[in-house]
Amino acid sequence: MNRTSPRQSMSLWTVAATGLMLRETFLCGMVLSAMFLCSHRVEAQQVATTTLPVKYERNNDCLECHSRLSRTHDFVQTDTGPVWESQDKHARAFAELQRNESLVTRILGFPMSEVLVEGRVSQREEDRERVTALRACLSCHATWPVNESEPPVELSSGVSCQACHGPGLAWSRPHRESWWRLCTPDAKGRLGFADVRDPLARTQLCVSCHVGDHGQGRFVTHAMYAAGHPPLPGFEYTAFRAQMPAHWRSLHDKGPFAARETLPPGFDQGRGFRENFGIAAADLRGSYREANYPGWDHEPWRDLPNAKDAAVASLATIRGYARLMRDVVDASATNGTPADFALFDCAACHHELGPSLLTTRSARAGARPGRPSLVDWPIAVAQAALDATQDDSQTVVPASKHLLDRWASLQAAVTRRPFGDHAEWMAAAEELERWANDQASRLARSPFERTTAMRFAQSLATSSDRLLTDYPSARQVAWALREIARDLGWEPVQRENLFRRATGEDPLIMELPSGQNRRVVDHLPASLDAAAAYQPEWMRSELQRFREELNRTPNP
């Protein structure tokens, strides 16, 4: 930190001044820091606890520090801002709504601009109903958690830093301190900091929008789709992260940092300051590893990041889907309406009619002909992950059977009668959610070394024919394989050619319309056509090719 811009030194001054005052009297410090840190949005707050309230900062406050063009420290990611601001679609989540005004108007039933006043959501009483409708959009397209009466971060920031990392007011100051990385995730969580290093927690954040979370008001209903909301593609964490592009580095890429972050014994940096934030000495550990990975019998940064993320995220996605199934059917049972069609497989109904239909549709797993059924794609990667990480001593029953059984009983509950049997459905979804959560936690702690990644890839490449009849499932498999190949050290060219035709054509449309210059709506015709033109035979031959290549990959 040799040279600082005037703006940065100003912010440093603010920080220093705040710290000083906090030392003087706690109460006064609280009020002043709230004024300094949150001067744009002062709310009446009862300062009765020892910590700052879990509230939001301006997004620019994050970017001020995180917008350096070069990385200055292995630990501290100071160059995330430019990536997020200029390349990440999430930053444009709200701007896209404004850009597609006519589409949004069709979905809402009124122009969005009618309930926006100077870029903020209208607080007028007469707009209440329409604001509620808009909120269904903004809970994903902006930063607007359920417990906030209005969007706490400016709409133009879209899915802002704090949408994923948690409301920053309380932790923005302490997270700049070097002792912060020695805090346990629980302690950080008390200040509102989301533990995005935990693959399960992280995927849940993604899934809450990319699959849905009814409790957080994040659910693309069938009515929205019918009015023109693009279909949500099946979510596969590693592919989405790679194409996002990620503004973070995996633990694996950061490398072993043992001994670099340990504080000298007996040295308690900034104790008084720390305690003002409710972080006690007991919340600190001797090292980052100890704080975040207590009791692990393998080094966390040895895990191959893509294989591990694909595995954990696939189970976390199932968990999210099961939870959504449960929550939505619970809500609809209360209203006495059938469950929203958006829960079901689009292709169960949305296919052209013709005499050949009986043979093509009969392949669906356990689904009764004529009734809306579950999607298949969430289990595509998960089955392989479970089989690949199975303890060799219990190979009698493949681990994936536990998943398939639970999936089948949910399918049965959903199709027992048209629109499903609510009680049975709830029970099956709850069981699946619980089980998937356990499995995801287990996988998150499991070692993912090269042999595991090889097994995982092998297992994915031998996906069942039934699964491969389904385009979204096939794409899941292809996505995961392409990212796992990265772990296995495949050359970029080799990876890029996977599941492509010799002409360079991308028949599965594995390339997402990511980045800020491409638009999902423009991409839609191509992706919908790809789904219709999908040929399972071609996919099978591609997997055959992959297996051959995999066998040539050295396996130590």
Binding site: H222, A227, P338, C349, E352, L353, R361, R417
Partner: protein
């Protein structure tokens, strides 16, 4: 009624009460509340049984079995089973059973259930369940239409899951009594020298002579009732969808009665048949919807709505970006109802028909009018539906009672006034209406030649005039059906390019334009046919040659 009075009159009584109450402003008698059973009895004498709701189950209660004699009891050579040339001049040919047995596909309804195709379909329908009671319950759903007397809930004989040998039924498949009513009460009366139809009706004979009644009989299976319906599970398992238009089916059915006589006797018979079908089928469709709603209210295991009630294309189309959607379905008026629109098949021009019947118009231009028919919950459905049914029942009475039969000019006016077909279903119905007109026209030309009102060369001249229109009509039929033209109307994706030659892409607006063109042509050159003599003196046409 088809069944004994005891089973029949309870449900229809209150339906009738509503029907008659709706008729109050014209009816001279006012019924107080509480007289429902009496009213029903009273009404029964005045109205033919056909004006009672058609929701009677085809499958009779067990104690009604004894009312059936079986088709063989009709098949004696001296009665309806004569074989070969008729001798002497009888008022009927006496070979109805023989002709039916030889030609009518209904005679083979039962054989269908022995086919491999049926067994494959049934396995998909029961979802490969081996549970006997589940299979029995599902097979009972096939019985009412395919084997109302024989199946009794048992599967086809060769089903290994059958739990006991079925009692030997008197009748298998669709027999005479399926459409004419259980015969034991009236079989003696109907062989008397001059049987009175009114008397026979009293005894449970179903009089299919009025076209509306005939259409209603067909509709009990071809549209369905709440106890005999084709649900979406069946369709998904492979059962053909029911797209029933009475007059076109009727025209194709090999007749076991002398249809020539009735075509001679009735001016523009095919148009009357079309009109009767429209009225009867809309009524049946409404009753089916209400019946299903009622069923769903009482049995939570039954889903609502049944997808078979929806327009197939409201869901069954590939997901496309909005700007590339073909105009097969109307733009979404209400996003929530997007997937739940009630199939418009049975109501292409109901407003005009009701007006034609001289009844006060339904308020169906009001967007909220059909709303209860597409509601998500079945609770609000019946009330509005009953009002509609009552009106239709009166329309049925009125249309059969109007002094002059429906004229082509009227139908053409309806078609001209109807806006662009908003859906595939509307387009098909419009084409079917024009087809009925074409058939009717051919009949009238033949009759005119027969009655020497037209020379054969004049007839050919008429035919030549309409030749290009007929070709266009044929093209329209093909445009709306499978490329291989297997059946019409068929449930298809009319716009799917893969099933037809590349580049051939039909838009509903094209169909509408073609129909407008046809209407203009028919109006300009088709109307000038010399008028018929009085229709009261039909000329015998000699030996029927169907």
């Amino acid at each position: 009624m088809a069944m004994g009075k005891r089973t029949a009159c309870l449900i229809p009584a209150w339906l009738l009460a509503i029907a008659l109450a709706g008729h109050m402003h014209t009816a001279p008698v006012h019924f107080g509340p509480g007289n429902a059973p009496l009213q029903a009895l009273w009404a029964d004498e005045f109205l033919p049984s056909s004006f009672l709701p058609s929701s009677q189950p085809k499958q009779p209660a067990t104690d009604a079995h004894s009312l059936y004699e079986g088709s063989l009891s009709c098949a004696s050579a001296a009665c309806h089973g004569r074989i070969g040339q008729r001798f002497g001049r009888f008022d009927r040919s006496r070979d109805e059973w023989t002709r039916w047995m030889r030609n009518d596909p209904h005679a083979r309804a039962r054989h269908l259930l022995d086919s491999d195709a049926f067994h494959a379909l049934f396995e998909r329908y029961v979802h490969a369940a081996s549970d006997t009671s589940a299979r029995r319950e599902r097979s009972l759903r096939c019985a009412p239409c395919h084997d109302p007397r024989g199946m009794n809930g048992d599967l086809a004989e060769n089903d290994p899951n059958r739990d006991s040998a079925p009692a030997e039924p008197r009748e298998r498949g669709i027999g005479c009594e399926t459409c004419h009513g259980p015969s034991r009460p009236w079989v003696a009366a109907h062989v008397e020298p001059h049987p009175s139809r009114a008397n026979l009706r009293q005894l449970g004979f179903i009089d299919n002579q009025p076209l509306v009644e005939r259409a209603r009989q067909c509709a009990t299976c071809h549209v369905g009732t709440s106890t005999a319906d084709v649900d979406h599970d069946m369709i998904a398992a492979g059962h053909p969808e029911l797209y029933f238009e009475f007059s076109s089916y009727h025209a194709r059915l090999p007749k076991h009665w002398s249809s020539v006589d009735e075509r001679l006797a009735t001016e523009h018979f095919e148009l009357q048949s079309w009109l009767a079908g429209q009225v009867a089928c809309l009524q049946a469709a409404l009753e089916l919807r209400i019946g299903r709603a009622d069923r769903a209210r009482h049995n939570k295991q039954i889903g609502w709505p049944d997808f078979a009630e929806q327009s197939c294309f409201s869901c069954h189309q590939r997901i496309r970006p909005a700007d590339r959607s073909p105009s097969r379905t109307p733009p979404l008026r209400h996003a929530e109802l997007a997937a739940r629109t009630w199939n418009p098949w049975h109501r292409p021009i109901h407003d005009q028909i009701i007006e034609y019947a001289g009844l006060p118009p339904l308020d169906s231009n009001d967007p909220t009018f059909w709303r209860p028919m597409v509601e998500l919950t079945p609770a609000t459905l019946p009330q509005q539906g009953e009002t509609l049914i009552a009106t239709l029942r009166r329309a049925a009475v009125s249309t059969t009672l109007v002094d002059s039969p429906l004229q082509p000019r009227q139908l053409l006016a309806w078609l001209r006034d109807s806006k662009n077909a908003p859906s595939w279903e509307h387009a098909c119905q419009q084409v079917l209406a024009v087809s009925a007109l074409e058939r009717s026209w051919d009949d009238e030309l033949a009759i005119a030649v027969r009655q020497s009102r037209l020379s054969e060369s004049e007839r050919d001249q008429y035919r030549d005039q309409t030749l290009s229109d007929r070709r266009l009509l044929q093209e329209l039929r093909q445009a709306l059906t499978y490329a291989d033209g297997r059946r019409f109307p068929a449930i298809i994706d009319p716009l799917q390019t893969s099933s037809r030659s590349p580049g051939q892409h039909y838009q509903l607006s094209d169909v509408a334009a073609a129909i407008r063109l046809l209407v203009e042509h028919w109006e300009s050159h088709g109307i000038a046919l010399p008028a018929r003599p009085s229709p009261n003196q039909p000329e015998p046409f000699g030996t029927p040659n169907e």
